[in-house]
Chain length 517, copies 2
Amino acid sequence: MNKVVVHALLEDAAYQHSTVPVTSGTHTFDYAQVYTRSVRLANCLESLGVRPGCVVGVMDINSHRYLELKYALSMLGAIIHPINFRLSPQDVLFTMQHAQDEWLFIWDGFGELGATVSKSIPHTVWMSDITVHEGGLEYESLIDEGKFQMPRAASHVRPEDIYSIFYTTGTTGQPKGLRYSHQQMLMGSLQIAHHLALHDTGATLSAQDVMMPLIPFFHIHGWGTPFVAPYLGTPLILPERSNALEQISLIQRHGVTWINMVPTQLFMLLEAAQSAGVQDLPLKILTGGSPMAMGLARRAAQFHMTFSMIYGGSDQLGSAISTAAGLTGDDRIKQLSTHMMPFPMVRMEVRTATGDLVNADGQSLGELWVQSPWLPDGYLDNPEQSQQTYINGWFRSGDLAIRYPDGSISVVDRMRDAIKSGGEWIASSTIESILSEVPGVKSVAVIAVPDAQWGERPKAIVEASPSVTESILREFLRQAVKQGQLAKFAVPDVFQFIHQMPVTSAGKINKAALRTQ
Amino acid sequence: MNKVVVHALLEDAAYQHSTVPVTSGTHTFDYAQVYTRSVRLANCLESLGVRPGCVVGVMDINSHRYLELKYALSMLGAIIHPINFRLSPQDVLFTMQHAQDEWLFIWDGFGELGATVSKSIPHTVWMSDITVHEGGLEYESLIDEGKFQMPRAASHVRPEDIYSIFYTTGTTGQPKGLRYSHQQMLMGSLQIAHHLALHDTGATLSAQDVMMPLIPFFHIHGWGTPFVAPYLGTPLILPERSNALEQISLIQRHGVTWINMVPTQLFMLLEAAQSAGVQDLPLKILTGGSPMAMGLARRAAQFHMTFSMIYGGSDQLGSAISTAAGLTGDDRIKQLSTHMMPFPMVRMEVRTATGDLVNADGQSLGELWVQSPWLPDGYLDNPEQSQQTYINGWFRSGDLAIRYPDGSISVVDRMRDAIKSGGEWIASSTIESILSEVPGVKSVAVIAVPDAQWGERPKAIVEASPSVTESILREFLRQAVKQGQLAKFAVPDVFQFIHQMPVTSAGKINKAALRTQ
């Protein structure tokens, strides 16, 4: 490539890694074919009037078509809006209006939501292997009609042009829109691969891996995997809509070695493996989005999985990944669960409320501030939130963190999830991590409840099998206090058992919902 | 960092890797100290009138001062011109005039050359541990006088601003000037580290390595090592002026694990190791600039060294490094000597004279064309050469190459070094590689001599111990032909023995000199 624009990546892969396979459902292509299809699609869309700067919504599972769209829209200088279909229908429509989507590419498996959403927009293209729909265009027909000739717009696309817009999940209020240029999106994505390769991690990546992204493409473009795979020339397995058992089958069939997913997905994968009698799944896993419970981490190790945690988000892209140079056994697992090393080019500072740096002593708590070359300017059409969050070239994360002498960082809580008791921070994640190791506990959330004397006090909400009682949980915490893992004042006052933990569209525990219950 | 400019790298390292050591001669600093000294220097130079865009020549061995200047000049938005002091004095002065150097920073160990050169320029700063010179300023005094306060210019430096100018060695005519922006210089340098980390190579790099650059900083900034080391946070050992024996001592004392050097330096290092009775030097070596003779490669393996070859140059930066996924033993050594894999983002095409792609069959020869995001626009003030070399976003390398089915490339010769005999290319390097394995042979060069019947025919020029005779060489080649390593018509007609092979300032065999002899 001579310009750092998204479609140049696929063009390079089509030349350098032409025969490397890209598998999606029952389809198997190679990078040369994916490129050809993307060019044809872009060519046809240009003739249909898709112009540079046009915003195109995409609502799809992780498929080859989604992959192609990420490149075809780049060739057109159009802006891709990966729609988070796990948001409420109102929020889905809100993000489409807010982003000013002019076109919608939609998989035909969304049922009622798909029908509702498609009515809201002038141009709809249906993505399916079956080719009959009322109203709208057919994806495969567009490819058939397009010529294998780069759209005229392609050579004018510049690294600084906006490539994508996407939204926060909006656990506190309406989703907020972020826009990233080609250069920002690629730097933020590729730096994940570089960091993983340069460090001793549990998800170390090389050109010899076989990648399967389980993080949905609507979530920060699947953490950059659709860009990293062609960049490295690795085979790419796209899981489409699949359950954990089907994912295990894909892993075994295609020799998948590297996966990304949130801890909840990992839990489901392990449950499925166990029920299917699979004892060995030697995978490298990049996980994040919520803390990794030690119980889950140890269980993954029994399946010969290794993992690292990534820290980042829609409003900063990736910033840090856990490393564990030279460590083995349980020490390694603990370190990989917690110690994030900033990517090269990323600065992370842990600051007090007055802006001073907290000591890098592995204990002092403060707010995490992040700086990187791929930070956005702010939220789209939201000057107030932007001003509060993007300050002098820094991103104010709202996360409570610790810095260690070696420069690594532990994010212990969202500031709003942490409990401030008697002037001291209590990190909900610390208590959650300990309780998750109690046999029979499936899920734990610790939230703050108002307290007249202390300001706030922690309350534990637990999903567990019937054998688990409050006194068992209290005994576990008493031992943790004894071993120095937990301050005595951090032991929750109240324990509540529930049948099913509420989760957000991103698969995280929905603490906002728990607080209002 | 929030902008991809050179000095932001050191600023990050001073924060993230503050206590990691940088050793130079008898001095040991850490990244925080190197940063402090660089800021003080830049601050003082700003007060002395060094403005953005000002060209500053630096003539120094690989020292901490050279390292500091690379960052201090970035902070000022000035342009660093690393002067190749191995050029002839006339050429040194030519490059300084051509680049329009306004300041000169010069080590006081260059003797007469230093005195001559320093007279040619208005502002001279002497770099030394001793602080008495007639005329000019003293480097350490500038640091003492400067405040620890970023120069005002620093925040205005942009990624697209010119960071550096340097020159080709000019084996064919006058040195040609190349200018690179901050972004180009950093991308081209860091992509070396990324490629090494992502692939199975003989010089795989990680954040756990200890780096010692033996490639001089005047040569493409030591192949980017002064940028890569702080980026990774690895210790950096700067060899200053040292002979091979002293280098071995540095390696052992500081636990050096990663070195770059040309094959000639490797040869000298192995000779020194052998004479000193050192049997084990487990180093990862990035080498290039001239072919790696198999004899040298096998000898390095006996010392437990591993290596990879880099392909690149002043007029393209780095473009490819040899890889050897899954290979072991002699197969691995052979592959690492020859099979270059383009960096991600680099396109390499092997084309016929009429511009068609040659078959990727591992045999067909053609000219290598290179495309990358860090290519320069052209040579400085040299529109004619620029037009012939930089064509439609491609760099026309003038190298004769082969492409393999796996996408790797072998550069077999400079086009001008290859022999065209009866319409067929003969690569001089193939013959040189075979003859270098004859016991007693120290150095071989094969050049073209005019021939009435065939157009050109190969002639071998050999530096060897007295025991080596022409009939021994001929017998070796006869065996190589028998084993299919060499075409019969490629066997040289004439063998000439010489006492000492002439070399260029870059340590390569000077074939131009051999041709005129």
